[in-house]
């Protein structure tokens, strides 16, 4: 119902949608663009696009899927326009994990290894994993957002897993 209210010019509905979906979209953009400030600027563009397009949203997909699609399109535009070259899977401004009790540290170490391996994955595979596990999109929705077939989504997931195993066992560089 928020989209319908936004379509009728309700700015408070836009603010509420921003509060609900903003954090997830921002995390997505930071992951794509690698720069927090740029991601925040693009997020504002995404909200403006939502405001202008709310009247034409047909409800054929979930709102979140629609917004991620818009965010992805804008991120790709920026990367193409600026000949944007992201540092190979390295994200800026990442906090160091805080120390803690030994069992927690061991668990955190294992998790940190997985995070490091994820950062070294090819972009398309990492994006697919994020859309499935963090943004919780179905296989068809991921295919919709990324502009590929559901079969390609499945094969990217499997290649991502194979690459992660390879990276975690230190057997070389990941395959695209």
């Amino acid at each position: 119902m928020l989209i319908r209210a936004i379509a009728q010019g309700d700015t408070r509905a836009l603010e509420e949608l921003y509060a609900r979906q903003g954090p997830g979209i921002l995390a997505y953009l930071i992951s794509r663009l690698g720069e927090r400030q740029l991601a925040e600027e693009v997020l504002q563009d995404v909200m403006l696009a939502v405001w202008r397009g709310a009247g034409r949203f047909r409800g054929e997909s979930r709102v979140r899927t629609w917004m991620i699609s818009i965010a992805r399109h804008k991120a790709i535009n920026i990367m193409q326009r600026q000949r944007y070259v992201q540092a190979p899977h390295i994200h800026k401004d990442l906090p160091d994990p805080a120390p803690g009790p030994s069992s927690l540290v061991e668990r955190e170490d294992a998790l940190a290894q997985v995070r490091d391996a994820l950062r070294r994955l090819p972009e398309a595979q990492r994006e697919t994993l994020e859309l499935v596990f963090y943004h919780r999109l179905s296989g068809n929705e991921v295919a919709q957002v990324m502009g590929v077939s559901p079969g390609t989504v499945k094969s990217r997931l499997h290649r991502a897993k194979a690459n992660l195993i390879q990276l975690l066992t230190s057997q070389g560089e990941p395959d695209e």
């Binding site: 995390a27 930071i30 709102v63 979140r64 998790l111």
Partner: protein
């Protein structure tokens, strides 16, 4: 479901399966050690993905004052024109990827070559025939979902799909006009055809038939729209050929289609005006498309 539903384990972990699918996977995992092992591997990966994404999550900044100011502002004419030009130019990827450009160039080259080798009296027939037909085919190909992956249209929102299609048709027809113009220049250099006369023969019918196809595709469907326009043009050409063959023997009765071969400024002007009116009608139809009734927000 297969014996080992490994493709669904990721979505089981993410919680995006239906209730039935979820329960089915749960039952399978309780009895299959291989899939349980796969599940644990994916669970570990999922934890890493979520943990990495949480690292990137920051306090959400407030909606910027610039955005607030933009919410109720309307673009200026210059901004609207700039957006339209940018949108049309952005369609070049689709035009190139779909093979429309090389196919158009090939047909125009063949039509020009045919015009050059035909006797002077028939030189204009290839342009009169091929260019408008090519316009109809291009318009029909680019209209409707059959001409595009649905995923791309969704990913291009919030631009309305019909707006995108109009932009693509504009770019493709603009390219056709440039190529046909180049062909007509060559014809005018190497034959007795005048440049203006050559352009007048194909330009107005191209615009008229393309506009007709576009409007029919909007209210109907691309395939029957193209069939109607092509059928109409084919009928006109047959009648023209018939009248031309009789012209030297019998002073035929009105209406005569022979002016199509050497259209005067009035005939060209009327056709272009009709084409413009139909094009505007098409934009009005697109702009005033009603929100579907029974709209429901499906998502969270």
């Amino acid at each position: 479901m297969s014996d080992h539903p490994t493709d669904q384990i990721t979505h089981y972990i993410a919680g995006t399966l239906t209730v039935d699918q979820h329960q089915s996977i749960e039952r399978h995992l309780s009895t299959c050690p291989a899939c349980r092992s796969e599940f644990k591997e994916w669970q570990h990966i999922a934890s890493g993905v979520v943990s990495l994404a949480h690292e990137l999550t920051t306090p959400l900044p407030p909606i910027s004052p610039v955005l607030h100011a933009s919410l109720h502002s309307r673009p200026t004419v210059l901004q609207a024109l700039h957006s339209a030009a940018h949108l049309i130019w952005a369609q070049r990827v689709v035009i190139f990827r779909s093979g429309i450009l090389p196919a158009t160039a090939l047909v125009v080259v063949l039509a020009t070559f045919s015009a050059l080798i035909l006797p002077e009296g028939n030189a204009l027939y290839p342009l009169l025939t091929a260019i408008p037909i090519l316009g109809v085919v291009i318009t029909a190909l680019l209209s409707g979902a059959e001409g595009d992956s649905a995923y791309e249209l969704v990913a291009s929102t919030p631009t309305h799909p019909e707006t995108l299609i109009y932009a693509r048709i504009s770019l493709a027809l603009g390219t056709l006009i440039l190529l046909a113009f180049a062909g007509t220049i060559i014809l005018s250099i190497f034959s007795h055809t005048t440049l203006l006369g050559g352009i007048a023969v194909w330009l107005a019918p191209l615009l008229l038939l393309s506009s007709l196809t576009t409007v029919l595709a909007l209210v109907w469907s691309p395939l029957p729209a193209a069939a109607t326009a092509l059928g109409l043009w084919w009928g006109i050409l047959l009648l023209l050929a018939h009248q031309r063959s009789l012209a030297s023997e019998i002073p035929f009765a009105e209406p005569s289609l022979l002016p199509l071969l050497h259209p005067g400024p009035w005939l060209v002007g009327i056709q272009i005006l009709l084409a413009l009116l139909m094009w505007v009608a098409g934009w009005v139809l697109v702009a005033h498309e009603k929100h579907p009734s029974g709209f429901q927000e499906k998502g969270r």
